[in-house]
Amino acid sequence: MQQQDIDIVIVGGGGAGLRAAIAAAESARKENSQQRIMLLSKVYPMRSHTVSAEGGAAAVTSDEDTLQAHFDDTVAGGDWLAEQGVVDYFIRHAHRELVQMERWGCPWSRKPDGSVQVRRFGGMKTARTWFAADKTGFHMLHTLFQTSLKYPEIERLDEYFVLDIAVVDGAVAGVIALKIATGELTLLRAKSVILATGGAGRLFRFNTNAGIVTGDGMAMAFRHGVALRDMEFVQYHPTGLPGSGVLITEACRGEGGILVNKDGYRYLQDYGLGPETPLGEPQNKYMELGPRDKLSQAFWQEQQAGRTGKFGDSDVVYLDLRHLGKDYLHERLPFICELANVFINIDPVKEPIPIRPAVHYTMGGIETDANCETCIKGLYAAGECASVGLHGANRLGSNSLSELLVFGRLAGEQASQRAATVAFADSPALEEQAQAQKTRLAQLYDAQGEENWVELKRELVLSMETGCGIYREAEGMQDTLETIRNLQARYRNIRLQDKSQAYNTELMQCLELGHGLGIAEATCLGALERKESRGAHKRLEENFQQRDDVNYLKHSQVFFNAEGPAQLHWQDVDTHLSAPAERAYGDAGKGIKQ
């Protein structure tokens, strides 16, 4: 097995990973210390899922806006389950990071005078979302990737699949990775490791996520004893394309798009988001600009009431953009027009776009402290894989791209500082853990079982959708939990068709499925035990339809248990800056301090 000594290993080449790498490099330069920084990613960095983000990144920008307002929106949006100290740090640093991106060449959309333009976004009081047309994530990711090329100290191992982290005496000691091109294993001994492996949306059948968003990093940390926190909060985006799940950005609504049911009625006014705002005059926090959880839930209600239309075999409602006119649409939402045309053969200029909710974002993740460090010393997590505590029970659109930057940077700096002070672990335990991975792979290759990953995966995603969907109840979740545990057992009996070493994508999908099974269990367990409705988590049972601050103003923490089912604990929430209040939108939200 090849081995290298690397001061800082970063797993993941998405927005968070790249930002961390640059921060680490800068930090090392500042301290005049020679540090090797290695970025590993299972796909080339610019293929990472950040590339798909469309809408924008939030930061307080205009003079009328205030930090307090961004703070309040985020905390209320998260139904008071956000760590308020973390939110405070976030809102203070977001603007700086976006300016930094601009300084690195990111082509933010501009006002005629050359300053940066902002747009409205759901759940935000005022327009504070920076955007680069409707390809914000694309431009951010490419800007970060290209900027990273400027730093010779950032080395990369592209198309390396990280199998596991190595932990010695409660501190991270390295990572073990598989070179996809050849199937060889590499052990990277490290002083700091940053996980930036993204979310786990692929656990669900119908989702907006890329194929690689399988929660690998979460599973690795989980197995080493780090808690997965708040996993029950899974964001459904209200506007995915039927069939593929491809996302139609919230910016469509920010620009004035409206949602109607099959009768052409703007149904959102029936769900506490009214009164109806005039066509072409979107108003923050009203109607279409309510938060995602509320909108997705309203869809579900309409569906139950039989007021949704059909597209193919999907139930759909309609996103109508026609009143915005061709020129405006082509200028502001060119990618959306392209996607609708290509994937469902609909021209948004002429027809409303059929849409339905799709799983979009994992609010929960690897628990870290406010400095992005996990309970394993030297192991950091940032980006969608992490639960630093920013989003609480529901993420506001455009907060996560800013999160990648703010916390990616923080993680990078912290990792670099740590690497400057500690030594490489020198222990046979490290070798052993690497060998264990080798054995595990060999066993997978040799396994003569009769299970096939395709079957297992299909059952998993279907079951997650059924049991942990927009609305949940105990029975369904119990079923799902049993299915998952059953699948975990069957997974041990899996068999590969493809036995080759080089580019064995079947092997990788098996490994990803293995990761998914662990995370699914944590998600389902958290959902089952949270006997209240909060943010993205909605229970159908009579007693659980309200938020219950007495019992559940708490983070869920799920711990891995090698011997049996995972364990759930509750953790207090930091609410020292803003006491829980009612979360209301539309006219109902008027006057409520948010």
Partner: protein
């Protein structure tokens, strides 16, 4: 690993400036001439007049001499003969490369050399004519 390939070492050999701008400049100028002036030239000199469709006397010996051996004639030689020659040489050279024929530096000499030689001949002819 993605660093340290030959492309990133800017040794002077590696980063040598190509002399192509000269040839490309001539090619482009010639291309404009080929597109704008040559069609008319072919149409009248090689098609309509020889075929007797219009004005067969237009190219009588005296008329031809006075037209060609004059300042406009010199311009004609430049834009209808010399520059298009370099245009053609450039495309032939790249065409040979496309067809994987010959050797790059040799092709270059033959094609541009040929264009230069023929242009020189045209100018010499013009000089003789005007004197």
């Amino acid at each position: 690993m993605n660093k340290g390939t030959s492309l990133n070492n800017d040794t002077s050999e590696n980063m040598k400036r190509s002399d192509e701008p000269i040839w490309w400049g001539l090619f482009s100028a010639g291309g404009v001439c080929f597109a704008v002036f040559v069609p008319a030239a072919i149409l009248f000199i090689a098609l309509l007049i020889p075929a007797g469709i219009i004005a067969p006397e237009a190219l009588s010996f005296d008329r031809a001499r006075s037209m060609l051996f004059s300042l406009p004639g010199l311009i004609f030689i430049g834009v209808v003969i010399c520059l298009p020659l370099f245009h053609a040489a450039h495309r032939i050279r790249h065409g040979l490369h496309d067809l994987k024929l010959g050797k790059e530096h040799l092709n270059k000499r033959v094609t541009y050399g040929g264009a230069a030689l023929l242009s020189a001949l045209a100018l010499v002819g013009f000089a003789v004519g005007i004197l």
